[in-house]
């Protein structure tokens, strides 16, 4: 049973070449993970490995003793008694049984331990990931992040469950063999060492050559796979342009290159084994001859019997060395993977120094009082430095004051942005791609922190508000709807675990989603997979609206969808959005001007600056950029 086989991730992950940077301290850290919760098991494993290898070595030595001490003496006796032999064999059998049992114990314990370690690493990795700031996800490709969970963890699994124990076992047999060899004949041992060094030299140089070509092969493979992906994705365009022949010709070129690299790389890898093995065979002959000459000439006190034993040891010496070098490669790859995993774990998590919290409140004699039950009134609980405790009702008054911001230092994206939205007002952002519309909303919910200036929520600087509570008080509908695996009900309840079924249906009705949900065979229990692929774009947006509606926050951030849905569905979605916006402070990132006309104020952004602001009528009258956009002289996206 090949233990090394696991799903190898998607195509993209496979294309990655051997990127091999090992950070300092990675190995001790992996060892720490292994020993952290499994100290006793690991001790047991080490003991068992030692016992198992000893049993193995004793077995090899036993055969010689068997012949020399038991069989040969019996040959000259008339009526041979086998009790001595039986006793020896029985002892050997016992040793073997102990060996087999310890092999089973270490294999089993180690397998379970390595699964446990992997689970720990996986869980820690995910926990850390959830804490990372949005910036991390914006600056790393999804494929890279995913590969930490697939490829990197997989190589690590192989290392922990196979390479490390094998390494230990092989080292044990190497040590015991070397010791026995030195004991038998130090001079011949030197011969063996020289030859082994020669074999290692040959194999490492072969490995060097082949790994050079493996890198080339990996690159060509990535080339071919990338080309195939692009061409197959555009296959319909190829058909329309009858481009098939050219597509074939280009493909042949890189496919042939891949063949050349693959052939060369594997060629060197394949001849490695025969070369090493047969050098081993030559070594055997040479030692046999040298040994015999030495014995015949009584040199170095060698007897013929010793040489025979020595030769047997030689035969068994090259294999574990071969194994160790094989494992070494796997270990290096695994450590490179572990380095990448730890790099992600070591990323700085999102910090939160907020101390203002969001609580349910009720009004007693016109004064706000904190309470446990849901009242529909929220309050900011603001403990002041002087020990005073203040409750501020959450109304949704947002102010931005002279805000500057850049995703990278020295590259400011927003300049001096000031604006306010009174409770219940609708503010629209309009502008070309990259003008800074999304950036502003990223700052309000603190996906990113402002560089300079202030943002206040009901008069409180948002840096003082606990991030989780701030985000609870802000609803979001993003242009790309992300749904999660689970029922439609679970998806609407997302973030509001305790909502009742009635509340879910109410939210769905508000979002105009109820009708289509009821048309599904399983209704609210329909299970969505793969980001709700079985629903249409419009339906998924309706679910996102329902999800936001259930949370019932005083402030909403809406990012309109850019993709074109047909007019009728769009009307339904727009209608749902309108109902959601009713009575809330709303920030809309608009991609179509028809939806922003009824906004209290429209902010026209250009290169991170608000260049125009005012109501629709004001802006049309001033005949500026908005007017040009509106009359269709410019594209929004």
């Amino acid at each position: 049973m090949p233990r090394g086989q696991l799903p190898r991730g998607r195509g993209a992950a496979m294309m990655r070449g051997p990127r091999g940077k090992i950070n300092k301290g990675t190995f001790p850290r992996v060892i720490k993970y292994i020993t952290k919760n499994h100290k006793k098991q690991i001790a047991l494993v080490i003991v068992c490995i030692i016992i198992s290898s000893l049993a193995n070595v004793l077995g090899t030595l036993f055969l010689r003793t068997l012949i020399d001490d038991y069989i040969t003496p019996l040959l000259s006796i008339q009526n041979p008694v086998f009790t001595g032999l039986l006793k020896a064999i029985s002892i050997m059998a016992c040793i073997y049984v102990v060996g087999v049992v310890s092999t089973y114990i270490y294999q089993r314990v180690m397998a379970i331990v390595s699964q446990g370690v992997l689970k720990d690493i996986r869980d820690d990795m995910f926990d850390k990931m959830e804490e990372l700031p949005i910036k991390y996800f914006d600056t790393h490709t999804h494929g890279d992040i995913m590969s930490h969970y697939t490829n990197d963890t997989d190589t690590l699994r192989q290392m922990i469950s196979q390479s490390l124990p094998n390494f230990l076992a092989s080292s044990m047999s190497i040590i015991s063999t070397v010791l026995s060899m030195i004991y038998l004949s130090p001079i011949l041992t030197i011969f063996v060492f020289i030859f082994t060094a020669l074999i290692m030299l040959c194999s490492t140089s072969l490995v060097k050559v082949s790994s050079k070509f493996f890198v080339a092969q990996q690159k060509s493979l990535a080339n071919v796979n990338g080309y195939v992906e692009e061409m197959i994705s555009g296959q319909k365009v190829i058909k329309v342009f009858t481009h098939e022949e050219i597509a074939k010709r280009d493909f042949d070129k890189i496919n042939d290159q891949l063949f050349t690299d693959m052939y060369t790389a594997n060629k060197y890898a394949n001849i490695l084994m025969p070369v090493a093995n047969n050098l081993g065979n030559l070594e055997y002959v040479l030692i046999a001859l040298v040994g015999t000459i030495m014995a015949i000439n009584n040199f170095g006190g060698l007897t013929l019997g010793t040489i025979v034993s020595f030769l047997n040891l030689t035969k068994g010496f090259n294999m574990p060395i071969q194994q160790v070098s094989n494992q070494l490669n796997a270990v290096i790859m695994a450590l490179a993977g572990a380095s990448r995993i730890f790099e992600m774990m070591d990323e700085k998590p999102e910090t939160d120094d907020g101390y203002v919290t969001l609580v349910n409140a009720k009004k007693v004699d016109g004064k706000l009082v904190e309470c446990d039950e849901k009242t529909g009134i929220w309050a900011w609980k603001h403990p002041h430095h002087d020990g005073r405790l203040e409750y501020v009702e959450v109304k949704g008054y947002i102010e931005m004051e002279d805000v500057d911001f850049g995703y990278e230092p020295n590259k400011t994206v927003l300049h001096n942005v000031s604006l306010y939205a009174k409770p219940g007002q609708k503010i629209a952002f309009v502008g070309a791609t990259g003008a800074g519309k999304t950036t502003i909303t990223n700052l309000i919910n603190r996906f990113y922190d402002v560089e300079d200036g202030k943002i206040r929520y009901d008069g409180i600087n948002i840096n003082k508000i606990k991030k989780d509570d701030l985000r609870h008080s802000l609803g979001m509908v993003l242009q790309d709807t992300n749904l999660f695996t689970g029922s439609i009900r679970d998806n609407i309840k997302y973030g509001n675990e305790n909502a009742t079924d009635e509340e879910v249906i109410e939210a769905a009705k508000l979002a105009n989603a109820h009708t289509f949900i009821m048309h599904l065979p399983e209704g609210y229990d329909t299970v969505l997979t793969n980001n709700g692929a079985q629903l249409s774009q419009g339906q998924r947006q309706l679910l996102a609206i329902a999800r936001a509606a259930l949370n019932d926050p005083p402030v909403m951030i809406l990012d309109e969808a850019t993709s074109s849905i047909d007019t009728r569905t769009e009307k339904i979605v727009q209608d749902g959005m309108d109902k959601l916006m009713d009575g809330r402070t709303v920030f809309v990132i608009a991609h179509r001007l028809s939806t922003v006309q009824n906004s209290k104020a429209i902010m026209v952004l250009d290169h991170g600056k608000i260049i125009e602001r005012g109501s629709h009528d004001d802006l049309i009258a001033s005949k500026g950029k908005y007017y040009q956009l509106y009359t269709g002289a410019f594209e929004l996206e």
Partner: protein
């Protein structure tokens, strides 16, 4: 299936045949070498016979050199055969896909085709290499070793013969138990990946709904689930090496006991001590070949799924092909639909188009309006024969599209697809997809027509600007205009825009239509759009609803007579009267 796949061996037949041959020779040498080693000890070293030792040593050196040669040759040929096979297999698949029609592509889906051409080919290649080498080596080694063992001493071989089936059964049982659990673990891994993927993609949703803790719990459960299943499997899998070990040890013990008795009782006539050692070596070889065979079986079962998927593509029949005698010239841009019905699955119940009759004259501009799924794209895709009608006939230039040579037809009917893609390469290279031999002037001309010239010139590298894969470095509207320019370069007699200006602003949109009117008056233009403003100045407008033609006429006529058209018009014009 094997027959179909093995067709891809082609020019690598020789290495494919030589590999097993050299593997076989290598195995023979490998069996011979321990024999010589034993002889070297017995006849040479043990007796101190230097001459004999030298002679046998020389034989051994020759054997080692031969073994080295055979080993290297088999390795080189195996590499050549498997890389070559993979190359051809990939090529065959790719060529096959090039011949696929739209419906063939739809059937497999793009993502699955990509997997079949990448991961699956790699898996099958590995299996191929294994078949040419290990499936020859292991059984051969087993057979030769068994023969040699019997040759040394038939009685002792009985020990082996009783042990072999026991081990085989044990391994089989383990495999039978482990395999289904492993399959389920693979699925659980998919779940795990799905959770991670959802979180990575939807991290903004996770954070804004403050559900990090829940997600951690969710992930923890899946992770724990995998851990538990793995533990179940590992407990059993951990038995494999101890079983093999006990088999080998049992072998050594039993053979030592019986062998020793035999040696002593017959005074080395039936069996010598050297032979006993050799016998044990063969026994170990037999057992490890058995182990190897079981491993190969497992690996091959895993590769079979990939082979199946590749096979499916290779045997798929492209369902749109040229007739034997074809017409190579398209006379003009007349289009006619005669009683056309169409369904994607070939099922009469689920028709996407129902009895369409339509006549469009060369040079006309036709607008096409209708809701999602009403059949707009389907209708126009029949004109360049991207799909074949289920019933009726589509005629271009007065000739049934099925009578044309496909390339000639599609060169004259340019369809700008709704889900369009640009390819990695410069803008110029992308535009030249329409006509590889076009001059730079012609490229600029079509870009001007498509209102793309201006923004292209604004790029620092102009027409040499590199487009990233999927065209991610240009905006939606820019991408659409480049796609239109690319289609124009073909100088088609019929141009179809399938919702191709949805991201272009209204003013540019009208400029494009104006350019079409003035610069290519003889080309038949069909424009599918969501915006009434994009079609209202067309010669005629088709309103399509639920696969049927609901209205056909000018803007004014339809406004007066067609309810659907009027409804759409009203909803779009509401409050945006200047939006034209």
């Amino acid at each position: 299936m094997l027959k179909t796949l093995s067709k891809s061996i082609r020019e690598y037949k020789l290495p494919t045949l030589l590999t097993p041959l050299f593997v076989a020779l290598e195995v023979v040498m490998e069996v011979l070498i321990p024999l010589l080693m034993a002889k070297l000890i017995d006849d040479g070293v043990y007796l101190g016979e230097m001459n004999a030792a030298l002679k046998i040593g020389l034989e051994l050196v020759i054997a080692a050199i031969l073994s080295l040669a055979f080993g290297c040759l088999s390795g080189v040929y195996a590499s050549k055969a498997s890389s070559g096979f993979a190359k051809n297999l990939r090529k065959d698949l790719y060529y096959k896909v090039q011949d696929f029609s739209f419906s063939n592509i739809d059937k497999f889906s793009t993502a699955s085709l990509v997997t079949r051409l990448t991961t699956d080919v790699t898996n099958v290649q590995q299996a191929f290499q294994m078949i040419t080498r290990i499936t020859v080596r292991a059984p051969l080694m087993l057979v030769i070793s068994v023969i040699m063992a019997i040759n040394i001493n038939a009685k002792l071989s009985l020990v082996l013969l009783t042990l072999l089936p026991i081990i085989a059964i044990a391994l089989l049982l383990i495999f039978r138990y482990v395999h289904p659990i492993m399959e389920s673990i693979f699925k659980k891994y998919d779940n795990l990946n799905a959770v991670v993927e959802e979180n990575v993609q939807g991290i903004r949703v996770v954070k804004s709904f403050v559900t990090e803790e829940n997600e951690k719990k969710k992930f923890g459960n899946v992770s724990k689930d995998i851990y538990n299943s793995f533990c179940k499997v590992e407990k059993i899998m951990a038995l494999t090496s101890p079983i093999m070990q006990s088999a080998i040890y049992a072998c050594i013990i039993l053979i030592s006991w019986f062998g020793a008795k035999m040696i002593v009782n017959t005074n080395m006539t039936a069996l010598t001590t050297g032979e006993l050692m050799t016998f044990i070596t063969y026994s170990i070889q037999i057992l490890s070949s058995l182990m190897m065979i079981s491993m190969v079986v497992v690996m091959l079962t895993m590769a079979k799924a990939s082979a199946d998927r590749i096979y499916e593509v290779l045997v798929e029949k492209p369902n749109i092909t040229n007739k034997e005698k074809t017409i190579n010239t398209v006379k003009n841009g007349d289009i006619e639909f005669q009683n056309v019905s169409f369904s994607y699955v070939g099922d009469k119940e689920k028709e996407c188009l129902d009895n369409i009759n339509l006549k469009i004259n060369s040079g006309e501009t036709i607008g096409l309006i209708g809701g999602t799924g009403s059949g707009k794209s389907t209708l126009v895709n029949l004109i360049p024969r991207l799909y074949d009608v289920t019933e009726g006939a589509v005629k271009v230039g007065g000739v049934d599209v099925r009578d044309y040579d496909i390339k000639s037809l599609r060169d004259e009917v340019s369809n700008v697809l709704q889900k369009n893609v640009l390819f990695s390469g410069t803008i110029k290279e992308n535009i030249k997809w329409g006509d590889a031999n076009a001059t730079d002037e012609e490229v600029v001309r079509v870009c001007k027509l498509a209102q793309a010239d201006e923004f292209i010139k604004d790029f620092p590298d102009g027409y040499d600007t590199y487009i990233e894969q999927g065209g991610t470095n240009v905006s939606g509207g820019q991408k659409q205009r480049l796609c239109i320019a690319r289609a124009l370069l073909k100088k088609p007699k019929i141009l179809i825009l399938d919702d191709s200006t949805s991201a272009v602003d209204t003013k540019t949109d009208s400029l494009i239509r104006k350019a079409f009117r003035e610069e290519i008056p003889d080309t038949t233009k069909i424009i599918i759009a969501q915006r009434i403003s994009s079609v209202q100045d067309a010669d005629k407008i088709i309103v399509i609803d639920d696969g049927k033609i609901n209205g056909f006429g000018t803007h004014e006529e339809l406004l007066a007579t067609n309810n659907i058209y009027k409804e759409v018009y009203d909803s779009q014009m509401k409050g945006s009267d200047t939006n034209a």
